[in-house]
Symmetry: C2
Subunit: 190 residues, 2 copies
Amino acid sequence: MKKMRMQKSPVYLNLEDYEMTGEPIINQVRRLQDISGIFKNEQAFKEIDQEQLAYTVQAWMPVPEKTPGGLFFGVSTIYPGKVGNEYFMTKGHFHSELDRAEFYWGIQGRGALILMDHNRRVWAEEVYPGSLHYIGGHIAHRLANTGEKNLIVGACWPSDAGHNYEEIAINGFSGRLVEQDGEPVLIETF
Amino acid sequence: MKKMRMQKSPVYLNLEDYEMTGEPIINQVRRLQDISGIFKNEQAFKEIDQEQLAYTVQAWMPVPEKTPGGLFFGVSTIYPGKVGNEYFMTKGHFHSELDRAEFYWGIQGRGALILMDHNRRVWAEEVYPGSLHYIGGHIAHRLANTGEKNLIVGACWPSDAGHNYEEIAINGFSGRLVEQDGEPVLIETF
């Protein structure tokens, strides 16, 4: 009768700020220079320090991408700021495997999850600590920070989802989240 | 140019205790009488109030079970207690679609994630606030509470994973998590 001690999982998640530590964690950094072209006001964009952090992503990907049935776990941090009246945001993407879903949940800060279906219908959900968001298949998604502090969002998605950034890079979303009278408003742009 | 307000997600997650509120949330309750047969010491089991709560599961299942590409989000609460020297635990299962993975992460309390592969090799990972656990495909999993307070664990899994409880109901796990000298120890049983 063999006795065994419990093992430790290789990854630890700080529940306050969702910083992930352990191995193997992937760290992505996106500065403003990495996301040129997604904001409407190109002049305002040029006037901002291009080295400024726009967002970071940490992820634990325990199996290779495209593994059927697997899952990835991640944390996105979107920094506060605006380009003209448009809030800092992520590039946004559809999944390459179009029917793959994703969960997001707000940890810190305030923001918006901007969603668009394949008919280019656009809408947005408010993101705040404890808001839980189901992003169904065939829905493009991007996060915007509408607050003064970092927006931190947890995420879980299938390892065979993939990212299709191209469609958004070419056609954008059909709405922009801008500040009007101090409030975030989603403006349909088609 | 249409202006839109942001919507609220239908589900809110209390980040302190992971209580989920909103619609539609599924609530499952398992009392001791619902999990008879999983503990070794049958005499000790009979002496405990059968109405006592063993564990509860809350889940947001935004799409029907078996939907390809979808995801579910849930919270398991395992109550503290022992049957003889064996800790209160969940029934445990493989996924019906064997290759489907799952993430668990500890929120409150202390416990163990007991894991077994298809060759009946068994091991356990320590669960505590912030511990993040990847349960790969083909791995049976169950949670046990080794502490004095509720063990609360977050979870995300594919909507087409399904639950195969039968194999565990018939053959059990090849290890039992028991208290020895005040410490949890996994005893291989084959």
